[in-house]
């Protein structure tokens, strides 16, 4: 991978700088797909430059994927594919089908139309275990009231990696991997603690370690930062960024906070009414006014307004730490 590519994934701001230097490369990759209202309704596909840069076998590819509950489609004809190693965030108002889309990708919810492909293979022809070797899911924090130890909890993530046998038990490699994942989220010191004695932030880090122990190539995030305070939200997202950096893997996340989403994602997909409304690099999406369109709200004015609160005091947000 070239220098510019790996820098791109690090953070959108630096990537913009790098892109300015390597102009030729940038030319190809810009180009936000913005669809107008009329186009969304009719579902017309407009493919721009971004789509041309395709690998023969994308890790994940959706072709007109539709799914829903009780005969009604919540997600309608969504198509996109991952490019190499990138972090994607799904944004959109409540009920637009983000979580449903994640569930379809992970095989939890059967499709009513279209296809979801992993490495070019339709997930309908894959066993759950094979899907889970590629894709792991991390959900929002739920309360636990049973006393597994931290290590036992993370070991559950090794399930898909253990050999099938009569009474299979964790081997040396599994223990090493669990330890490594606990160290990655800085929880190794608490390996023996029961999880019902942990704080919310710690618990979510344990679940992150469990997700990492699965050694997936793609992690799906279903609002994992819910119920966490600001610092823990940022910490969790940074752990995820670090993982995708060092392992060269993908993340597709639903995060409601636009700040967190832009911290994590190289690419944003905007959804509305179960369809993709826009698909482009984070910076380009934030620059355009498709966010406002999708949410029906002047998002940038809201953000500016919030930042303004600090300005009269003369404090600099970036130097406060």
């Amino acid at each position: 991978m070239t220098v510019s590519a790996s820098a791109t994934t690090a953070c959108p701001v630096t990537s913009a700088l790098v892109d300015a230097e390597t102009n030729a490369d940038a030319e190809v990759r810009t180009g936000v797909e913005i669809r107008t209202d009329a186009e969304i309704r009719t579902g017309v596909e407009i493919r721009t430059g971004a789509e041309i840069r395709t690998d023969a076998n994308a890790l994940l590819e959706l072709e007109d994927a539709s799914c829903g509950y009780g005969g009604e489609d919540v997600v309608r004809k969504v198509s996109f594919r991952t490019h190499g190693h990138e972090n994607i965030c799904l944004l959109g108002p409540n009920g637009c089908g983000k979580t449903t889309l994640l569930r379809a990708i992970s095989g939890l919810l059967p499709l009513t139309g279209g296809r979801v492909l992993i490495d070019g293979t339709d997930i309908r022809h894959m066993r759950q275990k094979d899907i889970s070797r590629n894709i792991a899911m991390m959900s929002q924090l739920a309360t636990v009231h049973f006393s597994y130890t931290v290590e036992e909890t993370v070991m559950l993530g090794r399930y898909v990696r253990m050999k099938a046998g009569l009474f299979e038990s964790p081997g040396k490699e599994d223990r090493r991997k669990v330890r490594e994942c606990l160290e990655a989220v800085e929880m190794a010191d608490l390996a023996g603690r029961p999880i019902d004695s942990l704080s919310g932030g710690q618990l979510q880090r344990v679940f992150l370690a469990r997700t990492l122990a699965q050694e997936p190539r793609l992690i799906l995030l279903d609002e994992p930062t819910n119920h966490l305070d600001l610092r823990h939200q940022i910490e969790l997202v940074d752990h995820l960024i670090r993982w995708s950096e060092t392992e060269g893997r993908c993340i597709i996340g639903v995060l409601h906070d636009i700040g967190l989403a832009s911290r994590l994602a190289d690419r944003l997909l905007l959804m509305r009414n179960g369809m993709l409304a826009a698909d482009g690099r984070t910076r380009d999406i934030l620059d355009g006014n498709c966010l406002n369109e999708v949410y029906g709200l002047d998002v940038r004015a809201y953000m500016r307004n919030m930042l303004k609160q600090w300005e009269p005091q003369g404090g600099n947000f970036h130097e406060s730490r």
């Binding site: 275990k129 899911m137 090493r176 670090r242």
Partner: protein, 379 residues
């Protein structure tokens, strides 16, 4: 923007190299974890020891007291072929070997099966009140047995095993009908739907059983007594029939301890971790229904053990099913032996229904373990 300085890769490398002080750190930490895992060792040994004591007491105590020494001699004689020392009377041998021992074994096996099936049901349905009983196994088995008693028919080749066999089949069948009904109502087969359907079926079948009993008054007493549960008149033939079913069922369920652990965290999480949820769920529900069904068919409806065995073992040994499943068998078995002992000794010569005794001594014990220990944990 600031990025964490330490990357994952460096931490792994240091783990592999294990230089100087660092390796020491890692080793002590491993030691701690190893101890945390095997810290249950002494507790497990103690439980096994307690269970053995209860077994011997269960065999020894009764209308005639047999000292533990003599019990051990008789066991050694019958199982290992050692010669009986002088002074052990033939009648004692017969009492221990032909009456008490099979009865105690029966109680232990039934209790073990009920304990494990309660654990599995609670975990699969993620509901602390779920059990094969709430899903209608006991009522199904009772109805099957009731019909056999009233009509007096017997399946060829099964002979006197007709009653338990019909009970087992009817019990398992009820669960399958209830679960398929639930899956029709709700394709995702969510736990609440299953429990609801099970309870509706259970009540419905109980009503039919009441009708059947009312229609043949001469058999009413027998049906009611059978429903209360008893281990009297159990011999080695019963043990030889039930033991293989129960042992195989429990061993089969132990294969699924990791799936159970994952399901406890939530069905979607389990599935995204690679569990073939629908298949595993059917398998676990069917197996635990078979365990309960066969136990109920042999001994009648004995409640409470399936409820408290999982709670108590979880409280003592933690949540991991690797421990909870086998140890709830041990607890359920030992507890059932104790309940049977109380039922036949406390009001001699009257024998209480063992189902009443399990609740009678189970409820206070449960309260003590649950509230007594949790209060200590908080302070």
């Amino acid at each position: 923007m600031k990025w964490p300085k330490r990357s994952i890769r460096t931490s792994t490398e240091s783990g592999n190299i294990r230089t100087g002080t660092e390796s020491g750190n890692i080793r002590t930490r491993e030691l701690e974890i190893g101890m945390a895992g095997s810290g249950k060792g002494p507790a497990i040994l103690l439980s096994v020891f307690c269970a053995l004591i209860i077994l011997i007491v269960g065999i020894g105590v009764g209308s005639v007291f047999v000292p533990p020494r003599e019990i051990l001699f008789i066991m050694a004689n019958r199982i290992l072929g050692f010669r009986l020392p002088a002074g052990v009377e033939e009648i004692t041998v017969s009492l221990v070997w032909n009456l008490r021992f099979p009865r105690v074994m029966m109680a232990f096996i039934v209790g073990a099966g009920l304990g494990v099936s309660g654990t599995v049901m609670q975990s699969v349905l993620r509901n602390p009140l779920a059990s094969s009983y709430t899903l209608g196994v006991s009522s199904g088995a009772a109805l099957g047995a009731g019909i056999v008693m009233v009509t007096g028919f017997s399946v060829p080749f099964l002979g006197r095993l007709t009653l338990p066999a019909v009970g087992l089949v009817a019990g398992v069948l009820t669960v399958f009908i209830a679960v398929s009904f639930a899956s029709r109502m709700d394709r995702a087969m969510s736990s609440n739907t299953i429990i609801l359907a099970g309870m509706v079926f259970s009540l419905f079948i109980n009503a039919i059983l009441t009708l059947v009993a009312a229609m043949s008054r001469d058999q009413m007493q027998r049906i009611i007594f059978w429903q209360m549960g008893s281990f009297s008149l159990k011999d080695w033939k019963h043990v030889a029939t039930l033991a293989p079913i129960t042992i195989m069922g429990i061993l089969w369920l132990i294969r699924y301890v990791r799936e159970l652990d994952m399901i406890v965290f939530g069905e979607e999480q389990a599935q995204s971790m690679g569990v073939d949820l629908k298949k595993v769920k059917w398998m676990l529900l069917g197996l635990s229904a078979a365990l309960t069904g066969s136990a109920v068919a042999f001994s009648g409806v004995i409640g409470f053990i399936d409820l408290i065995a999982p709670h108590v073992t979880r409280k003592v040994f933690g949540a991991s099913h690797r421990f909870v499943v086998p140890l709830s068998a041990l607890f359920g078995g030992a507890f059932m032996v104790l309940a049977d002992l109380v039922s036949r000794t406390i009001l001699t010569p009257i024998e209480l229904p063992v189902g009443a005794v399990t609740a009678l001594i189970g409820a206070p014990f449960f309260a003590w373990v649950y509230f007594g220990r949790s209060r200590k944990g908080v302070s």
